[in-house]
Symmetry: C2
Subunit: 644 residues, 2 copies
């Protein structure tokens, strides 16, 4: 018998050679039907692989990232089986799971695969899935494996084998298809209920353009048709909400070859959004006792050697500028400049917590192939701040930071979010983590407690902390369910020491402050990209580049339209007049396209009675109001930063 | 007889060989007594030098920059005469006029000059000045000159002579002193009525540290004792108002070796001033129809080749960063990025004037020796904007820019200012200036007219325009009379074409817009440096980092003090409580030092009656007021951005 420890700490006994599926069945048949894989002592395994020793076990289903990955990896094998049955002689390279599905790279000889082929393949895959063939794992020696693929004439798998050693080589077979594969896989093909092959692309073998171009087929699969339908609908919606498309249509941002890749230029409409976000941040931070600073975008090499990124992360920075025998770098973070401001004047306990904020612009080198719209860029405007505090002040300060996140989530209608608390690993103290065992335990416990107190959903991840303290990655989900990494919060024992930051305690002794790094609104680039998707470009009134458009029915009412617009502008409302000589219908349609929240149609009646006929974006006629009533309504809507 | 044309166009006849002094005397003896030099056909001449041909003539007095320079140059000679009489054997290198006075570099052998020597020299100079010796000009051949200085054993002047040619060598003699000198000089030493030698420094011969160190003596002189007294008083006052001293005391800015020279870090108090200035600029620009943009701080080499600074001004930029085979530069100007934003969307006449503004941060390389506090830095936050307009719109647009300057001058109490209008030179069309003779004349006339219409004091300078159009340099003077270069306005025919900027006219043809470059508030760095001097650190309420400090008479009234402060903060007033356990006298003294505009002293009586005892910075007790009354007073004072 072996002892199996479950995630809740319960220990159960099973026959030696039992599988994760056996364990699941012993709990409930319903659960067993959902099991895709398992982690055994922290490693992902086939749910059908015999366990021969005491182990801790966690069952993985569709709701676990590793469960999904296994499912999609097996789906790649299923696709390969279908491809081989339809196009005999095909040779396969690799077929991994990716963010939203899987792909397989294949050599189809002269055959060019078409969209029609994809539909045929889907049918074949469905047929093979229904057979519910098991995925069978087989350990094999290197010579046997070489013999097998040599016979098959498969030079690609032979190439893969050349890098593997005896004892780490396995084959996986389902139905008539056998592949060299590390695994793990789902128990059987029948779990795959819904299939969509999404895309055909070319991919150089090993990513090297000197090599042969292989065919890459992408797909996505689900355990039910309902989930596939929802996914396809989400993709459809995401396409409409594509921040690159909306960013161009709405005049939010532009890029230019002479400026450089990944360097966003914010157009007037985008700058309005930036300024409203900064206004929100400044108000919020000012009320929370932050002061503001402004620092340059460059510093000498010595600064980044002290703070850490050099020489280790030189690759993610722009290369240096050499001047008067010194190397200057574009800053990739604001922290060191802020530490210097902390250090510029002596501090006592009376000055702490010292909170300094800056919408700092940092530069990071991302490979050109990685750049993507506003999501992956090389210049980032960061909602940055650093809080220098005593250990006793930490709890309140960190709690306040979390509250700030929640306040923002509410304003932007972010209902779904999760915080990933990354912890240290005892074994790696002094190597990967600063060697302060007690401080680690203490701080992690402090952070955990605050997260619990704040009722914030969070998951804990071992061995992923920063060098100098635990960190929290904040993931948010847009209304259509797409995940965005918003920001990272860090607690820092270490930089205070590297920069020799001090404060005088009440008893006149000196101590080093703790530092909290935080950026609740992330970067303008990523956050505005998120907001474009979140709102489908229909910014709420307070964020809208143009808030009100006044549409005179004809030129006869242009003067009145201008009077209305002037009055709105005086109340700091971003108003414009559509003074084109166009029919009112066209004016309305064009303004709808620009996603302006309010249209005021004005004609004879409105002019004579000092009124406006209000239309709301996407909702049509909202009745006739006196100008004063409309004005006080929108002023209130803006002041409260209402979403609706 | 020769014809002399005076600045007002009048032509008078004089005997051949008459001097500028003769001309002055023929107008009035009083005028002649003030004449220091003259410009003859645009060249500065001795007032006592015979004129042998028809010429245009302008008399130069103390109020002309060239008059002052001549006066100080002659004062350097007077000092040299005094030095030679006291320290025979001294050898002289060069002795030019500078911004505020003059210096002479000299080789005194082993003699170290002392402060006491300066006083003795001043006495000697006064004595020599009273002799009223004429400055006598003598043209001399190169061999004669060599012989003269060879006899004198003066290797320095012989070195100077080696670079000169026959026909351009002159000696000037006053009293017992003769110098190799291009001139010109004032008529006689008696004009120098007040003398102050200010400073002794070392200076390597020819600025090369491998050469001998010479002694440099600085001095300043005036045509009357009153002017010298005023000057010394101004220097004394300037010392108290030194922006570097105040910048540190008031927590405005800091610098750090690890960041780099000339790179300002703005501390919390300085950032308040920055944000208030930006708020003012944004309000003003928004009301004037500007839109805002945000652009990155780098761009590729190709951008700066198109816009002009590369390769010609590479020395004034930071060196490039080489990435993926491309050179990236820190931007030294915002224009090209703005042009790219203009070009990002097609424009028609309906979109013009298109005005885009950005407090853009630019980087310029200044030699370390040139760096000076906030005045000469390497990172500048510029109140930048570009106006793209048609030729027909130019007048109104340029007029509006001037009005904006005047509006700002009023807000900041700048009573004295002057604009230098730099014009092209016909001869250099196609070489130094874009070859558009008609556009030049037309635009210069447009600019001149607007300046006249706006009643702005301006001077015209020939042959100093930018390549692509006339420019205006704006000089302002602080309350203590020091001159600051604030900003440059430029009118630009050329960059629109280089960047292929277009707009569609009403008749569907395409045209290139005119561009106005403007920055009325200059850079944060220089402007805040100016404001520190202008206000002696006592910022007006709206700009003050801390606006109100509440001082409880004892801890008993701390809660009331906090209530008062909270109420002020709610009204967006920057208020703080002095919660230290100190005597009220000390609290008041310390707050005065921080130059906080208002102090509210609160004790028993104030607490019971919901009142505050108001003290105004530098003015003491301002009476007891109800908190509400005080609040509404300061809100109004801030809103109006009052200076007093």
């Amino acid at each position: 018998m072996i002892n199996i420890t479950l995630p809740d700490g319960a220990v159960r006994q099973y026959e030696k050679g039992s599988t994760a599926l056996d364990v699941a069945k012993s709990i409930s048949e319903g659960l067993a039907r959902k099991v895709l894989a398992a982690t055994i002592n922290g490693q992902v395994w086939d749910a059908s692989r015999p366990i021969n020793e005491d182990a801790s076990l966690k069952l993985l289903t569709w709701s676990d990232a590793d469960g999904k990955n296994t499912f999609w990896h097996s789906s790649a094998h299923l696709m390969a089986e279908a491809v081989e049955s339809l196009f005999p002689g095909v040779k396969f390279w690799v077929g991994p799971p990716v963010d939203n599905g899987f792909y397989y790279d294949m050599d189809l000889g002269d055959k060019k695969i078409t969209e029609e082929d994809l539909r045929t393949l889907e049918k074949k895959m469905n047929e093979l899935a229904k057979k519910n063939n098991s995925f069978i794992r087989q350990e094999i020696s290197k010579p046997e494996a070489i013999q097998y693929f040599y016979k098959k004439g498969d030079e690609y798998k032979l190439d893969l084998l050349s890098g593997l050693h005896d004892g780490e080589i396995t084959l996986y077979t389902q139905g008539n298809f056998t592949d060299l594969c590390r695994g793990p896989h789902i128990p059987a093909t029948g779990l795959i209920k819904a299939i969509k092959l999404t895309n055909i692309a070319g991919a150089y073998w090993k990513g090297d353009e000197k090599n042969k171009m292989l065919t890459r087929v992408y797909g996505v699969t689900f355990p039910s048709q309902k989930e596939l339908d929802e996914h396809l609908q989400m993709l459809e919606e995401a396409k409409k909400r594509d921040h690159r498309k909306l960013g161009k249509e709405l005049g939010i941002y532009t890029m230019d070859d002479d400026v450089g890749q990944g360097l966003i230029m914010w157009m007037p409409n985008g700058t309005v959004v930036i300024e409203e976000l900064e206004k929100l941040a400044k108000e919020t931070e000012s009320a929370a006792g932050y002061k503001r600073v402004v620092t340059p975008h460059i510093a000498k090499e010595s600064m980044y050697i002290t703070s850490g990124p050099l020489p280790y992360y030189a690759d993610s920075m722009y290369p240096p500028m050499e001047l008067e025998g010194e190397k200057y770098y574009l800053k990739s973070m604001n922290c060191p400049h802020h530490h210097k401001i902390y250090a510029a004047e002596p501090k006592s306990y009376r000055d702490l917590p010292y909170r300094i904020a800056e919408y700092g612009t940092v530069y990071r080198y991302e490979q050109s192939g990685e750049l993507f719209g506003l999501m992956r860029v090389r210049c980032l405007h960061m909602n940055d701040a650093h809080i220098y505090c005593t250990k006793e002040q930490f709890n309140d300060e960190f709690r306040a930071v979390n509250d700030m996140y929640l306040k923002y989530f509410k304003i932007f209608g972010i209902d779904k979010y999760v915080m990933r608390l990354s912890l240290h690993s005892k074994e790696k103290l002094g190597i990967k983590y600063v060697n302060e065992p007690e401080l680690w335990v203490e701080t992690e416990e402090m952070v955990r407690n605050v997260l619990k107190e704040s009722n914030i959903p969070f998951v804990e991840v071992q061995d992923e902390a920063a060098f100098y303290g635990p960190k929290i990655d904040v993931q948010i989900y847009s209304v259509i369910g797409r995940e965005f990494t918003l920001a990272t919060n860090q607690v820092d024992f270490s930089q205070g020491r590297s920069f020799k930051l001090k404060y005088t305690r009440q008893d006149n002794t000196e101590d080093t402050p703790l530092i909290i790094h935080r950026a609740p609104l992330g970067t303008h680039e990523r956050f505005i990209g998120f907001l474009l998707e979140q709102y489908a470009g229909k910014f709420p009134l307070w964020l809208a580049p143009v808030q009100v458009k006044v549409l005179p029915i004809s030129d006869k009412f242009l003067d009145y339209a201008k009077t209305v617009s002037q009055k709105l502008k005086k109340a700091d409302i971003r108003a414009e007049v559509d003074d084109r000589n166009e029919k009112i219908g066209k004016k309305i349609r064009d303004t709808e396209l620009l996603k302006v929240p309010y249209m005021l149609v004005v004609g004879e009646k409105e002019m004579n009675e000092d009124k406006v006929a209000v239309r709301k974006q996407g909702k049509g006629d909202a009745g006739v109001k006196s100008l004063d009533e409309f004005l006080s309504d929108v002023v209130a809507e803006i002041k409260d930063r209402r979403s609706e």
